[in-house]
Amino acid sequence: MNDPLQQLIEAIKVGNRKIAATATQTALDSGSSGKEVLGALSEGMDDVGKRFKANEIFVPEVLVAARAMKKSMELLEPILVKSGIKPEHTLVIGTVKGDLHDIGKNLVAMMMKGANFNVIDLGTNLPAQTILDAAIEHKADLVGLSALLTTTMPAMRETVALMNKEPHPFKIIVGGAPITQDFADDIGADGFAIDAASTVELARTLVTSS
C-alpha cells in the first residue's frame, strides 16, 4: 500500500496517529491537494462512524480515530491557509443546557472544520440565550445543537423555540443519539443529521439553499 492517501484512510480507521501524520505529510509532499487529504480523512471517519453504528467498535475507538484525524488536520491547516482557501460559512455549535456529553459535538466540529467551515465551538451545557447571542455575534450561517440524553431533549426544544421567536438568518441543525428527524421537525429545526459525516452534507445543502 504505497498510496499515502490510502495509508491515511487506513490510519484513521484504526486510529493510528503516527501513521496518520506521516501519511498526511507524504501525501502533501507528493502533490496531493488539501481537498484530497480532507477527502481521505472524511472517508476514514465515515467508515469509523458506520462501524460504531453497527456496534462493531465503541466510543474509545471513535475517540482514537478522531485524535488521528486531528493530528492530520494540524498538518493540513497551514497548507489550507497558505492556499488562500477561506471558510465561507460559519457554524456555531454546542451542547444544550444540562448536557455535558461532547464527543459527538466535537466530532461534528472537527468534520465541519475539515469541510472548510469556520467553526465556533461554544462547548457544553449552554443556556439557550448564550447560543443565540453567539450566533448573532459571529454572524452564523448555521447553528448546531447536540443532546445525548433524553432528559435534555426539552432543553433542545426550548433553545430552538427561543431562536425561532424572531426571524434570523441562520439554519439550525440538531443531532445526538436520541434525536430523530421527527423530533427535529417537531421542534422547528431546519435539519437533523444522524452522524458527523452526514452533518457535513446537510450543512452544505442548507447553506447553498439559503
Binding site: 456496534n55 475517540l63 482514537v64 485524535r67 455535558l100 456529553h101 457544553t124 431533549m153 436520541p178 423530533f183
Partner: protein, 257 residues
C-alpha cells in the same frame, strides 16, 4: 378495534384499579435485580420476571429487539393478561415496541435513574443541579460497567484480545475511555436496598477517579407502584395491543401511538 383487544382494554381498566385481579408478568433490566428481589418479598403477585442483560441501552436497536423477543414469548402464554416493563425510554431503545396481545405497563421514566429516583421530574432536577454526576446503583456496580478500576480491567482485557499485538493502541484506547468520562466529576449513588457493599464500591470508584461522592436518596414509590399498581396515567403509560411506545418530549416522557 376487534373483539379481543376490546376485551383486553376492559381488562386493563379493571387492573388499573386493582392489578392483583389480573395475571401479569414482568420484563426487567437486570440492573434492577436487587431492588425487585427486595420489593417482591416471598410471594410476589406477578407471575415471573424475565431479566434482560443490563447496558443494552448503549445499542438501542439491540435493546428493542431483545425486549420484543421476550414480549412475544410471554404473549404466547395464554394465561398472561398484561406485561409490566421495568424499563424507561432507555436511550430510545423502547421506542417502537408494540404488544400484539397483552397490554404493556411502563413507567414514565427516562431510564433506571428516573425509576430509582422516583420520577423523571426529580431526575431532571438533579441533572440540572449536578450535570456532572455519573449515576451508580447496586445493579450497575454489580455489572462492573461503571467508571472505576473494574471497568479499566475489563476494558484492558477486551481490547488486548482485540488488538493484542498493539499495546500502545490498547493504552490509548483506555485513555480515550477515561476521556469519554472527563466531563463527570461526581459519583452519584442511588440505592433503594441499603446495599453498603455497593455504596463502598461506588466510593472507591469516586476515589480512584478523583471524583466527589454523593449519595442520593432513592424513592421506591414509582418502582413499587409499577409492580403493584395503581397504574395511573400520570406516572405510567399503558400500551394497548397493536399500538406502540413512542417518545414524548414533554414531562410525560412516553406516549402511545
Amino acid at each position: 378495534m376487534n373483539q379481543s383487544s376490546k376485551k383486553q382494554s376492559n381488562g386493563f381498566n379493571e387492573m388499573k384499579a386493582a392489578p392483583e385481579t389480573l395475571k401479569y408478568s414482568v420484563i426487567a433490566c437486570d440492573v434492577f435485580k436487587e431492588e425487585l428481589e427486595s420489593l417482591g418479598g416471598e410471594k410476589p403477585p406477578w407471575s415471573g420476571i424475565q431479566y434482560l442483560e443490563m447496558g443494552l441501552h448503549d445499542q438501542p436497536d439491540l435493546l428493542r429487539k431483545s425486549i420484543s423477543i421476550a414480549l412475544r414469548k410471554l404473549e404466547m402464554n395464554a394465561s398472561i393478561e398484561a406485561i409490566v416493563f421495568v424499563y424507561g425510554l432507555c436511550g430510545t431503545g423502547l421506542v417502537g415496541i408494540s404488544p400484539s396481545r397483552c397490554p404493556i405497563i411502563i413507567p414514565r421514566a427516562h431510564d433506571c435513574v428516573s425509576i430509582l429516583l422516583g420520577s423523571p421530574k426529580r431526575h431532571s432536577e438533579i441533572l440540572q443541579k449536578y450535570p456532572e454526576a455519573y449515576f451508580y446503583s447496586p445493579g450497575w456496580v454489580r455489572g462492573k460497567r461503571a467508571p472505576g478500576p473494574d471497568r479499566e480491567k475489563h476494558l484492558r482485557a477486551f481490547y488486548t484480545q482485540r488488538y493484542g499485538d498493539d499495546q500502545e493502541l490498547v493504552d490509548e484506547l483506555l485513555e480515550a475511555d477515561k476521556e469519554s468520562f472527563a466531563h463527570h466529576n461526581c459519583a452519584a449513588y442511588v440505592d433503594l436496598t441499603q446495599n453498603e457493599k455497593a455504596e463502598d464500591y461506588c466510593k472507591s470508584c469516586a476515589h480512584s477517579l478523583g471524583w466527589k461522592f454523593r449519595k442520593l436518596e432513592g424513592d421506591p414509590r414509582l418502582l413499587h407502584d409499577l409492580l403493584y399498581g395503581p397504574w395511573d396515567d400520570k406516572r405510567f403509560l399503558i400500551v394497548q395491543p397493536g399500538r406502540s411506545i413512542a417518545l414524548s418530549t414533554d414531562s410525560k416522557v412516553l406516549r402511545e401511538q
